[in-house]
Structures are given as structure tokens and as C-alpha cells.
Symmetry: C2
Subunit: 137 residues, 2 copies
């Protein structure tokens, strides 16, 4: 089992508030790729809701290492960088979770962007290193 | 010479407006690391102003491949993802450029965060792939 680090209250707030997260994964050639995404924290695990076949889903299936950066939407100088690893991918509960994220970020009850035939997948990420930079402004 | 791609007017606007950019680099073990950063566009090259010895500067010295993600601060669903490569690092003009970035992002004339002995460095990045996702909301 890989080392997991504790998530502090300040970092929990960054994850629970409706900040966009930027998630970096590795392309087949090892180069880094970033996408902005909604994010959730459940039972000390960071959750990203994506769909089967998306670049980041394919990338983490090949190499589970991810980098995450979150900036406080109310203060761009309050930020956290996380190194982590996807330890599980599951479709179970993923549609319902997309609705939860739509509620969090858009204040609507139903995820509005579902494409026909799209299969939602939850990426469950454990944090292995966390650097929180408290505001300097 | 690696292929360079053209930067469209919409992407130029994302780079020129005062949006934070998220830059992913590769750690020594190949894992991805992200940091939020100020960003500039000069002569079709993307410029990141950093300091010697910072994680991202050390990372791109080892492997020049970077991922960049920028989200429109006025519309989080207008975003661009860029794959690029650092083709040059220089200290020439870097202090003055830090002041230019402070003007752009903080509306002050002088970069206020200079640490004693810090040596500023410009990372010059050529874009190799650009994915612009126009707003869906």
C-alpha cells in the first residue's frame, strides 16, 4: 500500500468549495496533459468524475499518477498542489455523482452535459504529497 | 525543428487576459506536477517567468515537455489545453518581465514577491498542440 497523506482542514476547504481543479495525467509518450475538472472529496479520497474514453481516463488507466492543482476562487494566492494516484475506477454511482457535482458547481439538480451513450466513471485518487501555499496577498 | 502550431485569436485572448495558467511539468520519476502561474505571449511564444531552482524550472531543464491549461476567468467553460516544449531559458530581461507580469495581474509597477538572491528566468515555450474548447454554457 502506498503512503497516503492526511488532508488538512484548509485543503479540505479548497476541495469542498466550488473551485475548479486542474488535473495532470501522462500521455502515452510520457508527456503531461492537463484538464480542468470538477472535484469532490469523499472519505479522504479525491474523486474526479469523467467518462469512459476521455483522454484523462485513458491516461490514468495506463499510468495512475496524477498531479492536481486547486486555486481558491476567492483568492488566487491560496493554492494547493497534490501528487496522487488513481487507485480505483468505477462506474458504480457515477451518474448520481455527476448530478452531485452539477449541484455543487452549477446549482442544478441534474448533470446537463451527458452525451448519448456516455458512460460516467469515478476516478478515486489518494493523495501522496500535498503542498499547501497559504495566501501571501 | 519541432512542429509549431498557430495560436488562434480566441486562444491569444485567453493568454493575454489576466487568467492564471496551470503548467504541468514532469518530476524526476516522470510523474506530473502542476503549478498555477502568470503567463505571457510574446512573438508567438508562451512565456512563463519563474526563478532558478523552482520545481518547474528544474523539471523543464530535465524534460522540456509541458502541458498548459487556461480557463477564462469570466467563463470557466471557455478553456484551452496546450501541449508544448520549453525551447529556451534565459535570465535576460527576466526581472523587467516580472514587473510586466505584476502590472498585468496585480496592477502594480513592480514585482512585489522577489526573494533575496532570487534569479528570475524566462521559460520560452512553443505550442505544439492546442485544443480550444469554446464555451458550452
Amino acid at each position: 500500500m502506498t503512503d497516503v497523506v492526511q488532508i488538512s482542514p484548509d485543503v479540505t476547504r479548497l476541495l469542498e468549495d466550488k473551485n475548479l481543479a486542474f488535473v495532470a495525467t501522462l500521455m502515452k509518450d510520457g508527456s503531461p496533459q492537463i484538464t480542468p475538472t470538477w472535484i469532490d472529496l469523499v472519505d479522504e479520497m479525491i474523486i474526479v468524475n469523467t467518462a469512459e474514453g476521455r483522454t484523462k481516463q485513458k491516461n490514468v488507466s495506463r499510468d495512475p499518477r496524477v498531479g492536481i492543482s486547486i486555486v481558491d476562487r476567492n483568492n488566487p494566492y491560496n493554492m494547493v498542489t497534490i501528487h496522487g494516484k488513481v487507485i480505483e475506477q468505477t462506474t458504480v454511482g457515477a451518474d448520481k455523482h455527476a448530478d452531485k457535482m452539477a449541484k455543487k458547481y452549477l446549482e442544478v439538480d441534474k448533470y446537463p452535459f451527458a452525451a448519448p451513450g456516455e458512460k460516467r466513471i469515478l476516478l478515486k485518487i489518494i493523495p501522496q504529497k500535498i503542498f499547501h501555499m497559504p495566501p501571501r496577498l
